[in-house]
Amino acid sequence: MASVRYHEVVRVFGRDQRPAVDSLTLEVADGEFLVLVGPSGCGKSTTLRMLAGLERVDSGSIWIGSRDVTRVSPKDRDIAMVFQNYALYPHMSVEQNMGFALKMGGTPRRETKVRVGEAAHLLALEEFLGRKPGSLSGGQRQRVAMGRAIVRRPQVFLMDEPLSNLDAKLRVQTRTEIAALQRRLGTTTIYVTHDQVEAMTMGDRVAVMNEGRLQQVDTPKVLYTRPANVFVAGFIGSPSMNLQAARLVDDGLWLDGYRVPVGRDTRAAAADRDGAVVVGYRPEAVELVAEDEPGLTAVVEAVEELGSDVFVYGAFDATSETVHAADVVARVPVDAPVARGKRVRLRIKPEAIHLFSASTGESLG
C-alpha cells in the first residue's frame, strides 16, 4: 500500500499537436479511492496506463510511495490492473488465471492455492475455479479479473472502466461491491470511468480530465457544489447544469424581473468583453411560479417522468436584455401541471447561481 504521485507528466502520441496527457500533476493518498473521469479521448486511460508502465512517459515522473517508477518495467511495479475487457487468459482455468502473477513472482504452490482460495471466497467464485473464462458470464468474468488483482496484494489497484461491459443492473450492484471491497482491503485504488455517476458514487476524490488536462480534483460534493470551471460544471451532474451566455450590467445580473447582486471583485474578474459571463444553475435550482410573478417564460418541449423526479425540458422564448435565449432543464415536483407545448413561468433561485468567465471558463466565485 502506498501513495501515488504524478509530477508534470506529459504524453504525446506520434506527431500530434496536442498532448494526450498535458503536464499532469496529481497526488493520491495511501489507501484512497481516486476516480479519473472525463469524456472519451480526455487522456484518463493513458494516464492510468502510464502508471502501469504500459505507456511511455514522455516527460515528468511517476512515483509509487517513495520510489520513482517512471522507467521501471510493469512487472516490477507491484501493481495490479483490472482491464476493461478483463484480459483473462483464455486457455487457463479461473484458478490458474488468478494464480498466474503469484507463479511469476515465485510464490510457492501451496501458498498460491491458499491465497487464490481466499480471493475466490471473497468474490463468490469458488465453484468456478476449474472452469475456463470462455464458459463464464460477463459478470463472472469481471469478478475473476478482480480476483486476479486482489490475490496479489499489490501496492496499488488500477481499474480501467471495469464495469462498462456489464448490463445496467449488474453495473449498479457491482459498483457497491467494488467500493466495499476497496474499503475493506484499504489498497490505494485508481479507477478510470467515463460515467460520472460511477465517479460520484465510488470515489473518495474525483479527478476530472478533459483534452489531456486535469480540470479539477476534489471530493464529489465539492465538485458538484463548487465546480472550478464550465467544463466541470457541465460534466458533473445528471441532467447537466444549465449553462447560458449572459451579460453583467451595472448592478448585477438581470434575470428578467429581479437582479442578482454580484460582488465587486466578481465584476472586476468578469470585466472582459463588456461583462459577458456564463451563467450556470442546476435543474433543482429552478422552480415553477405563477404567470404573474417575476420570472422567465419557457415553452415545454419534453417532460421526463422518472418516478421520484420530473424533469422538464424547454426553451426560453423571449430574450431580455441580460439573459439570452437558451434551452433549460428544470426539476419540478411530481404533481406539477406541465405538459408538452405548455408555457410555464420559471424562477431561478439566485443563491444557486454559478458564474463563469466567458473567455476562460473559470469560476468567478
Partner: protein, 320 residues
C-alpha cells in the same frame, strides 16, 4: 405453416422475407432441402475431374504395385508383395526412405523455429515490419526450380559462398557443399528453409495478430518477463498456427521433389536420393513402373500415418 412457395408475390410475409428479417424465424424447413435436393448435380463436374485425375489413377496405382506392370503391356500378373520385399532389399530405396524422413524432420524443426522467431520480430513495435514481411515472404512465391539453380551456383566450389568465406578470412571453412556426400543433404535443407521460412512466418504472424494486446499487457503487469509471456501466454494462444505449420512442413517435406532433383539429382551417388526422386528415376530412367508405384504407395502410407499421428498430437496441444 403454408408453404413459402404458395404465398402470392404481394403477400406481406413475402415482403418481410425479402427484407430478410423474418427469414430466420421461418428458416430451413421448406426452402433449403428443396434447394439441396435439386442441386446435387452441382458436384458432378468437380467430381468427374477429381475422379479422373486423382481417384481413379490412385486406385489403379495401388493395384499395380502388386503386379508386374511395365506401363505398356496391358497384360498383368499379380505378384503379391514381391515389389515390397524388393524395396526392403534395395539399398537405394532404404537410403531414400532415410533421407526423406531426415529431410522432412529437419525442415519441420528448423524452418518453423526460424519462422517463429521472424514472426515474433516482425510482430513487435519496429518500424520496418511491413517491408520485412514482404521481403521475407518473397522467396516463398518464387519458382522452386529457379531458386534451386541459384543455390546450386552459390554452392559450387568457386561459387559465392566459398568466395565469401575466403573473402572474410574463413577460407578454412570452404567445402564441397553439394558435392560432399555428408553435407549435401543439409545443403538442401538449408535451401528449403531459406525459401519457406517466410511462409511459416506469415502463418505464425496471423496467429499472433489474433491475440488481443490486452492479454500480453495483463501478463506483463502480472510479472512475466518477455520469455515467460511468450511461453505461458502467447504460445498456447497460437496453438492452431503451430499445428498448421507443423503439418504443412512435414507433409511438404516428405513429398519434396523439385529442389532435390535440380540441386543434386539425388547425388552425389545416392546421398540425397529421396522417395520422390527415386520414384521418378525408377520409372522414367529404369522403366520399373510397378516397383516405382510400390514406392509411391509406401510414401502415401507414410504420409497418411505421419499426418494422422501428428494431427492427433497437435490437436491435443490446442486445448492444453
Amino acid at each position: 405453416m403454408r408453404a413459402l412457395a404458395d404465398l402470392s408475390i404481394d403477400a406481406p410475409e413475402r415482403q418481410a422475407i425479402r427484407s430478410g428479417g423474418v427469414l430466420r424465424a421461418l428458416r430451413v424447413r421448406t426452402a433449403l432441402p428443396a434447394a439441396a435436393a435439386s442441386t446435387w448435380w452441382f458436384v458432378l463436374p468437380a467430381l468427374a475431374l477429381y475422379a479422373f485425375i486423382v481417384l481413379v489413377p490412385t486406385v489403379r496405382g495401388s493395384y499395380y504395385s502388386f503386379t508386374n506392370w511395365d506401363g505398356l503391356n496391358p497384360v498383368l500378373h499379380f505378384v503379391g508383395w514381391d515389389n515390397f520385399t524388393a524395396i526392403v532389399h534395395d539399398e537405394a530405396a532404404r537410403g531414400a526412405i532415410k533421407h526423406t524422413v531426415l529431410i522432412a524432420v529437419a525442415i519441420t524443426i528448423i524452418q518453423n523455429a526460424i519462422g517463429l522467431l521472424l514472426a515474433l520480430g516482425v510482430h513487435s513495435q519496429i518500424k520496418s515490419k511491413y517491408v520485412l514481411r514482404v521481403a521475407l515472404f518473397a522467396p516463398a512465391v518464387m519458382t522452386p526450380v529457379v531458386i534451386a539453380y541459384l543455390w546450386q551456383y552459390l554452392y559450387t566450389p568457386d561459387g559465392a559462398i566459398n568466395r565469401g568465406l575466403g573473402a572474410v578470412g574463413l577460407g578454412s571453412l570452404e567445402q564441397g557443399w553439394l558435392g560432399d556426400p555428408s553435407l549435401a543433404l543439409w545443403c538442401i535443407v538449408a535451401v528449403i528453409v531459406w525459401q519457406f521460412a517466410g511462409y511459416s512466418m506469415v502463418i505464425f504472424l496471423a496467429g499472433l495478430q489474433g491475440i488481443p494486446p490486452e492479454i500480453t499487457d495483463a501478463a506483463a503487469v502480472d510479472g512475466a518477463g518477455a520469455f515467460r509471456r511468450f511461453w505461458y501466454v502467447t504460445r498456447p494462444m497460437i496453438a492452431p498456427a503451430i499445428t498448421v505449420n507443423l503439418m504443412l512442413s512435414i507433409i511438404g517435406g516428405l513429398k519434396l521433389f523439385d529442389q532435390v532433383w535440380v540441386l543434386t539429382g539425388g547425388g552425389p551417388g545416392y546421398a540425397t536420393e529421396t522417395l520422390s526422386t527415386l520414384i521418378y528415376r525408377d520409372a522414367f530412367q529404369f522403366g520399373e513402373f510397378a516397383y516405382s508405384t510400390a514406392l509411391a504407395l509406401l510414401l502415401t502410407v507414410f504420409v497418411a500415418v505421419v499426418s494422422g499421428a501428428q494431427y492427433r498430437l497437435l490437436r491435443r496441444q490446442e486445448y492444453a
